[in-house]
């Protein structure tokens, strides 16, 4: 319902734990930012995007039981280049915006190092990795498949799968061959059998160097202390071709076999005490940078193209351009914090200084200088002085001026009754 209410064209929500290491693992099927990322295309009729966005994040936040409502203007951007609507060319975008069809894609991405988890045994099975085999397929699904990438098998790292896959399929993408074994989950589970796919290696595998993917990035914080700092992002191009990339909204050109370094300085801000998060000293997260580019090669590329929804659709992908969107590491920046425990003290002390300034000017401008005449001064001052008994003790010893003497004489007579012992 909120779908119609908020006039959405497209909504992508990813929630991630950990970081995807592009350099080592290649590209994931669905690239996601560390933490949570929500990106949305609104329909053109939305006038006040900011307000609609606020409504939307609160609705999504409720639906997914997450604190996405913190995605306010401070952590939101409106990128011009980096994000494109999926499956729609700009021409068809306006035309199909009225259609009521909704496509829902849900993906779960998991990285498991089976060898380490299995006491260095390279053989793996679904039961070993996930604790249990597949016992059923989703009742609503018309097709439920497991793909096992067998490409390495062609290169001599032999392993055999059990049970036998439903079919073997060769993918040709951008001139690169990939070999997949495909299991139709329904075929196995419908006859009451659990599907526990297992791989058995003929001999121990020596893992070799894995070539890095065509484009990847590494981002980090520079500097020390809480005053200034910087962010550096190295964008690596490992192939022999120029690749234009979109780094959020700047456009460096990646030269062949090169590293492009994007770095900028920042000055840490001093916030109000109410603007800090509950754990202020933990620091503030900085969203991952987004690198968008079109690769000329499909090496390491496993993502779905913009116009496909399932892997089968890309069996024979003859395209020569592959749109890639990478998320770099998100960063944690600590900011200088005030002392949260003493707002009252600070307010009192600062006001005291103001009061001292105001008070002394007030004092000097509203009073005037006069000669002190002890004969006429019978006021508070003399009485106060009289109260200070030490003055009276001192008075006879010091060859004081006439003024102090007379004050003391007068006050001692006044105070005789109250302070008898001292006088004696």
């Amino acid at each position: 319902m909120f779908w119609q209410h908020t006039k959405l064209q497209e909504l992508h929500l990813t929630q991630t734990q950990g970081v995807w290491r592009h350099q080592i693992w290649g590209y994931p099927i669905e690239d996601a930012a560390p933490g949570a990322e929500l990106w949305v295309w609104f329909k053109p009729e939305v006038k006040d995007v900011d307000k609609t966005w606020a409504d939307l994040v609160n609705a999504v936040s409720g639906l997914f039981c997450s604190s996405l409502n913190f995605l306010d203007a401070k952590s939101t951007v409106a990128p011009r280049w980096s994000f494109k609507p999926r499956g729609l060319t700009p021409e068809s975008y306006a035309a199909s915006s009225d259609s009521a069809a909704v496509e829902l894609t849900q993906s779960l991405l998991l990285v498991v190092d089976a060898t380490i988890n299995n006491n260095r045994q390279q053989d793996w099975s679904l039961r070993k990795v996930f604790g249990q085999p597949l016992t059923s397929q989703c009742p609503l699904a018309s097709s439920s498949r497991v793909f096992v990438d067998m490409t390495d098998n062609l290169e001599g790292k032999k392993f055999t799968l059990s049970p036998q896959p439903t079919q073997q399929q060769e993918f040709l993408r951008g001139g690169k061959h990939r070999q997949f074994s495909i299991y139709e989950v329904g075929e196995f589970t419908s006859i009451g059998k659990a599907l526990n796919i297992a791989a058995q290696h003929e001999s121990p595998v020596q893992y070799g160097m894995v070539s890095a993917p065509p484009v990847y990035a590494h981002r980090y914080i520079t500097g020390y202390g809480l005053e200034n700092g910087g962010i550096s992002c190295h964008i690596f191009n490992t192939i022999d071709a120029y690749i234009p990339v979109v780094y959020m909204d700047t456009l460096p050109c990646l030269a062949p076999m090169s590293v492009t370094k994007v770095s900028f300085q920042f000055e840490r801000a001093f916030l109000k005490w109410t603007e800090y998060p509950p754990d202020a000293n933990h620091g503030f997260y900085i969203n991952s940078a987004v690198i968008s580019t079109i690769l000329p090669t499909a090496s390491h590329f496993t993502s779905l193209p913009l116009n496909a929804s399932t892997i089968v659709q890309i069996l024979n992908d003859s395209s020569t351009q592959f749109f890639l969107r990478l998320h770099t590491e998100s960063l944690l920046v600590s900011l200088p914090t005030p002392d949260f425990s003493m707002p009252y003290n600070v307010i009192c002390l600062a006001c005291t200084v103001v009061a001292v300034a105001f008070g002394s000017v007030h004092n000097l401008t509203t009073r005037r200088f006069v000669l002190l005449d002890p004969a006429t001064t019978k006021g508070l001052l003399a009485r106060l002085k009289g109260l200070l008994s030490f003055r009276r003790k001192k008075a006879p010893q010091t060859p004081a001026s006439e003024e102090t003497e007379s004050v003391n004489v007068k006050s001692s007579t006044e105070q005789k009754e109250t302070n008898l012992p001292t006088v004696e």
Partner: protein, 438 residues
């Protein structure tokens, strides 16, 4: 007489600046929060220049808070050899020359006033009177503090844009002393245009010009007085309006008002400085924020009222005290403002003998100068102190300045009392007695 020493000081000061610009010292000093505020930071000005070169409005973000005319002035400094450093050294030399002229004019003004008032003075106050000899040391002291004093030296090396508004204020002093209403109002308009607070200097300046017109016991609340005030106000308004209008024409929008004066008045940036605003509003409860911002801003201007009443015969001292209060209580103060206040302090050297807190105040200045960078390091880099440490040292600095200016006011009033009643205080009964505030 004093001139050769002044020239030598000026030469040494200029040489020192040029030499220090060749070292790493300016780069370090440019990051000092005591000297550089978000408004006057040279780094931010460069950011503004870079944005302007890209044809992006420098006020589009929230980084740049200087005025459009100043931006164009410092941008044109690229054309001169040595660039901005030459500009800053040049500004300091001009300020030095203006200061020398101010002291000359001030000497003339004080001697004239003394001659006029002599009849009212007590015959026993001879030792308090100005002579050419006592006044001649002012110019040396002033130029010495300007060219070799640490505050003005560091302000120049840090390339804070405060030096430009300071220069405007100095021109304002000079033209006030020379009695030139139009130029004085222009200088004041430039200073106001640069940093907003000098607008309050209008009060003593208007009173001064009225005093010049009616030298014989003027009535400050009269038709003639208001006519004179209106004239000053009108000239000032015309100048200020033309400066703002020129900025509007150059920028093409009024956006700069929000980024400059809006920034000064609403204090959105709470990075530490030597003032009282930053930590106070960091720790302020949100629903009292607006109230206290109003209170603190009014506090800067409110001193003009009692001083205008009490010191109506002495508009120059009034101007000086208001200038000092502004430099303490403005929203983004720095050592560069203190530099201006301290440079002109020797003008009142005749009242120094009545000051009571000189030792305390001078010690506090030294302590703050040494401790502030240390406590900053402990808080920001070593993480062994927290914000309270730096706040404490800025409070000490504010207190020191408050003590100093209160002491100046006290000393002046006391000096005036002695001028009228003689230095030997006796009752009618010939008893010796003390002078107290009633």
């Amino acid at each position: 007489m004093a001139a050769p020493l002044v020239y030598v000081t000026g030469f040494v000061g200029t040489l020192l600046r040029v030499l220090l610009f060749a070292t790493d010292f300016p780069a370090w000093i440019r990051s000092r929060r005591e000297l550089v505020t978000p408004i006057t930071s040279w780094d931010r000005v460069q950011e503004g220049i870079a944005l302007q070169k890209q044809r992006i409005s420098p006020y589009a973000g929230d980084l740049f808070h200087e005025t459009p005319l100043l931006l164009r002035l410092v941008r044109s400094a690229d054309c001169i050899p040595g660039g901005s450093m030459t500009l800053f050294v040049f500004v300091d030399i001009v300020a030095g020359i203006i200061l020398y002229k101010i002291t000359q004019e001030f000497t003339r003004y004080e001697l004239q006033r003394q001659a006029k008032e002599m009849a009212n003075y007590s015959p026993q106050s001879k030792e308090l009177l100005h002579t050419r000899k006592t006044l001649s040391s002012i110019s040396i002291a002033v130029t010495l503090i300007h060219f070799l004093g640490p505050y003005s030296l560091c302000a120049c090396l840090a390339q804070t844009t405060t030096v430009f508004s300071n220069l405007a204020v100095l021109f304002c002093w000079l033209f006030t002393l020379q009695g030139n209403v139009e130029l004085c109002c222009f200088a004041l308009a430039v200073a106001t245009y640069q940093s907003l607070y000098p607008v309050i200097f209008l009060v003593p300046i208007a009173m001064h010009f009225f005093q010049q017109i009616e030298p014989k016991s003027p009535h400050f609340v009269s038709k003639a007085a208001f006519r004179s005030y209106t004239r000053v106000l009108l000239v000032f308004t015309v100048w200020l309006a033309s400066l703002l209008g020129a900025s509007f024409v150059l920028e093409g929008s009024w956006e700069f008002l929000r980024a400059t004066y809006g920034f000064v008045l609403t204090v959105p940036d709470l990075s530490p400085n030597v003032g009282i605003f930053w930590y106070f509003f960091t720790e302020m409860f949100e629903h009292f924020r607006t109230f206290f911002i109003c209170v603190f801003q009014i506090n800067v201007f409110i001193f003009a009222v009692p001083l205008a009443i009490k010191l109506q015969e002495h508009p120059l001292l009034q101007l000086y005290i208001i200038m000092f209060e502004v430099c303490i209580f403005k929203s983004y103060p720095s050592y560069a403002d203190t530099a201006l206040a301290l440079i002109l302090l020797p003008l009142w050297q005749h009242i120094f003998r009545y000051m009571r807190n000189t030792l305390v105040v001078s010690t506090l200045y030294v302590v703050v100068g040494i401790l502030a960078p240390i406590l900053w390091h402990l808080w920001i880099y070593a993480a062994s102190a927290n914000a309270n440490f730096y706040f404490a040292i800025t409070l000490v600095f504010c207190s020191a300045q408050v003590f100093l200016i209160a002491d100046v006011l006290y000393a002046f009033l006391r000096y005036e009392f002695d001028l009228l009643h003689g230095t030997d205080h006796r009752l009618p009964s010939k008893e010796k007695t003390r002078v107290v505030l009633e």
